[in-house]
Amino acid sequence: MEFILGHYNYWVVIFLMMVGFYTVISRGNLVKKIVGLNIFQVSVFLLYISTSTVKGGTTPILKDGFEIYSNPLPHVLILTAIVVGVATTALALALVVRIKEAYGTIEEDEIHKQDHSL
C-alpha cells in the first residue's frame, strides 16, 4: 500500500504517458494525434516536477528559518520544455490546417487513399 500511495505521482505519470502514446499511435485523426502527443509531453513535465520535491521542503525562497526547500532547477527546465511543447503544437496544428486545405480531410486513411489513387 505504501508502495502505491508513496509513488502516487509516478503512477499518474505512467498512466498519462501510456494514454498519450497510445492515442498518437492508434488514432487516424491528425488533430487527435496532436492531442495525444500533448498528453504524452505533459506526463514528462509531471515526471520532472515530481522528482524535484523534497520531503518537508518549502518553495525555494531565500528566508531565514527555511533550510530545506524543493529543487527549483527541474521547474526551470520544464518551463523551457513547455515552451518547446507549445511551439511543436502550434507548428503541428498549422500543418494540419494546410493538410486540410490540400486534401479536404484530416483522416489519415483518406489521405493515404487520395495519395495512392494518383
Binding site: K33, L37, V44, V84, T88, L95, R98, D115
Partner: protein, 494 residues
C-alpha cells in the same frame, strides 16, 4: 585567448540565431539569400579555426555568461565536436550558392525570406547540438533544429510534403520527448546536467535501475532522430518531398549530428563501458545489418531518384551504426570517417539530382531517359558520387568502408564483413539503374532541347564531387581527425 576569438564557440551558434529573424524581415529578392550565404560562410571559417585551435591547444571550455560549470551552461569543444561542427558548417556553406537558383525555382517568391530564416534556425540548432556540453541544452537545440526542419520540409511543392512533414513531426517529437524522459531520469539520480560532470557522477549509481531506464529512453530517442532501422519510416518521405536544397542539407548534416549525439551519450555521458554491460552494441550490429540489407533492397525498387537515394541514406546509417556496434576504437574511427564521407557523397548525389529537377521538374526514372548525354557535367558529378557510394577505390567511400571492414575483421565478425560487401554490391545495382536510365536509354522527344544545368548549380556539385576524390586519395586529414576523436572517446574492445 582574447577578444572575439575567446568567444569563438559561442559565436558559431549565436550568429545564425541572430541572423534568422533579420533574414525573415528582409525584402523579397536576393538579399535574404545573400545574408544567409554570408552567415554560413563565416560559420564555416569559424568552425575551421575552432578545429585548428582544438587540435593545437586542446579542449576549449566556454562558460556561458561567466557561470562556472556545472552550474552554468558550458560549451565544451574537443576534437569530436569540432570535427562534426566543421562538417555541418562546411556543407551549409557549399549548399548555399546552390540554393539561390534551386530555391527560386521550387519555392513561391513570398516564402523565400522565411525559407532562409528557417534554414538558419535549423543550422543554428545543429551547430548548437555539437557545441554544447550540457545535456538539457542538447534537447533545446535538438528541438530548434527539428521544428525548423519540419517547416522546411513542408515547403516542398507537392502536397505530400505536408503529410511527410507531419509524419516527421510526430516521430521526431516522440523521439525528443523520449530523450527528455531519459535526461530527467539520470538527472534525478545525479543532480547534474553537465556532460562532463555526469560522466564523473554516473559510475557511482550505475546499478540503479533508474539509470538503466534513462539510458534506454535516451538511446531510443536519438535512434528515432538518427533514422536507425526500423525507426526510419519518416525519412524516405521527408527526403523525397522536401525542397531539394533541404534534402541536401538534412541528408548531409542532420543524421550526422544525431550519430554524433549517439556516440557522445554512449561513450562520454555513460563512461567506463556502461554501454557494453547492456545489449546495446549487439542490438546495433543486428539493426545495422538489417538496415543495410533491407534499405538497399528497397532502394533498388524505387522509381523516384530522390526516394532511392533516401533509402540508400538509411542503408548508410546502417554502416555507421555497425561501426558503433563494434565498440572498438577502429569501429568508431570508421563511423566518424563514414559520417564525413557520406556527407560528401550524398551531398554531391542530391545536388546532381537537384540539377536534373531544375531542368525538367521531375526526377522519376521514366522521365530522365537519356538526360545524361544532354547534361554531361551533372551526369559526371552523379557518377563520381555514385562510385563513392559504392566504395570504389580512389573515392572517399572506399576509405570509410575499408576501415569498417578492418574493424569487423579485428573482431572476426565475418557476417558483418559479408554484409558490408553485399551492401556495396546492392549499391552497384541501384546506382547502375540511375546511370542506365540517364545514359543508355533514348532521350524523350520532349526533352531533346534540355540544356546543361547553370554554373551556379554545377560549381557546388563539382566541389563536393571533387572532394569525394580528394579525400579518397589523401586520407591523412580525415583519418587523422577521426582517429584522434575516437581515441579521445576512449573506446576499448569490450
Amino acid at each position: 585567448m582574447t577578444g572575439l576569438q575567446g568567444h569563438l564557440s559561442l559565436l558559431l551558434v549565436v550568429i545564425p540565431l541572430l541572423a534568422a529573424p533579420i533574414v525573415a524581415v528582409l525584402p523579397r529578392g536576393r538579399s535574404a539569400w545573400a545574408v544567409t550565404m554570408l552567415v554560413t560562410a563565416i560559420c564555416a571559417i569559424l568552425a575551421g579555426i575552432q578545429l585548428w585551435s582544438v587540435a593545437h591547444e586542446g579542449v576549449i571550455s566556454y562558460e556561458l555568461g561567466g557561470w562556472a560549470p556545472p552550474w552554468g551552461i558550458e560549451y565544451r569543444i574537443d576534437s569530436l565536436n569540432a570535427f562534426v561542427a566543421l562538417i555541418v558548417a562546411g556543407i551549409a556553406a557549399i549548399t548555399l550558392p546552390y540554393a539561390l537558383l534551386s530555391i527560386e525555382k521550387e519555392i513561391p517568391k513570398q516564402q523565400i525570406p522565411l525559407f532562409y530564416s528557417s534554414l538558419l534556425l535549423c543550422f543554428c540548432g545543429l551547430l548548437g547540438i555539437t557545441q554544447t556540453g550540457d545535456i538539457f541544452n542538447v534537447f533545446v537545440f535538438l528541438e530548434i533544429s527539428s521544428l525548423s526542419s519540419y517547416a522546411l520540409i513542408s515547403m516542398g511543392r507537392n502536397r505530400q510534403a505536408l503529410t511527410s512533414a507531419y509524419q516527421y513531426l510526430i516521430m521526431g517529437t516522440i523521439g525528443a520527448t523520449f530523450f527528455l524522459i531519459g535526461v530527467g531520469l539520470i538527472y534525478s539520480q545525479t543532480g547534474t546536467l553537465n556532460i562532463a560532470d555526469l560522466a564523473e557522477r554516473l559510475p557511482a549509481v550505475f546499478e540503479h535501475r533508474t539509470v538503466h531506464t534513462g539510458f534506454a529512453f535516451i538511446v531510443i530517442g536519438i535512434a528515432l532522430k538518427l533514422a536507425l532501422f526500423p525507426l526510419h519510416l519518416w525519412l524516405p518521405n521527408a527526403y523525397t518531398y522536401a525542397p531539394t536544397v533541404v534534402t541536401i542539407f538534412l541528408a548531409a548534416t542532420a543524421t550526422k549530428v544525431a550519430v554524433y549525439l549517439m556516440l557522445r551519450v554512449l561513450l562520454t555521458v555513460f563512461p567506463e563501458h556502461f554501454a557494453s554491460g547492456t545489449p546495446i552494441y549487439d542490438l546495433f550490429i543486428i539493426l545495422g545489418i538489417a538496415g543495410i540489407i533491407s534499405a538497399s533492397v528497397y532502394a533498388i525498387y524505387q522509381v523516384d531518384i530522390k526516394r532511392l537515394l533516401a533509402y540508400s541514406s538509411v542503408a548508410q546509417i546502417g554502416y555507421m551504426v555497425l561501426g558503433i556496434g563494434f565498440a572498438s576504437t577502429l569501429g568508431v574511427t570508421a563511423t566518424l570517417l563514414h559520417l564525413f564521407n557520406h556527407a560528401l557523397m550524398k551531398g554531391a548525389l542530391f545536388m546532381a539530382v537537384g540539377a536534373i529537377i531544375y531542368r525538367i521538374d521531375s526526377c522519376r526514372m521514366d522521365n530522365i531517359h537519356g538526360l545524361g548525354r544532354l547534361m554531361p557535367w551533372t551526369f559526371g558529378a552523379l557518377i563520381i558520387g555514385g562510385l563513392s557510394l559504392i566504395g570504389v577505390p580512389g573515392t572517399a567511400g572506399f576509405v570509410s568502408k575499408w576501415y569498417l571492414i578492418l574493424a569487423a575483421l579485428e573482431q572476426q565478425a565475418w557476417i558483418s564483413v559479408a554484409v558490408i560487401l553485399v551492401g556495396s554490391l546492392l549499391a552497384v545495382v541501384y546506382i547502375g539503374k540511375i546511370i542506365e536510365a540517364l545514359y543508355f536509354k533514348p532521350t524523350d522527344a520532349a526533352h531533346q532541347s534540355v540544356k546543361e544545368a547553370p554554373l551556379l548549380l554545377l560549381v557546388p556539385t563539382w566541389t563536393l564531387a571533387l572532394a569525394n576524390i580528394y579525400f579518397g586519395l589523401d586520407t591523412d586529414l580525415t583519418v587523422g581527425v577521426a582517429q584522434s576523436a575516437a581515441q579521445m572517446l576512449g573506446t576499448v574492445t569490450p
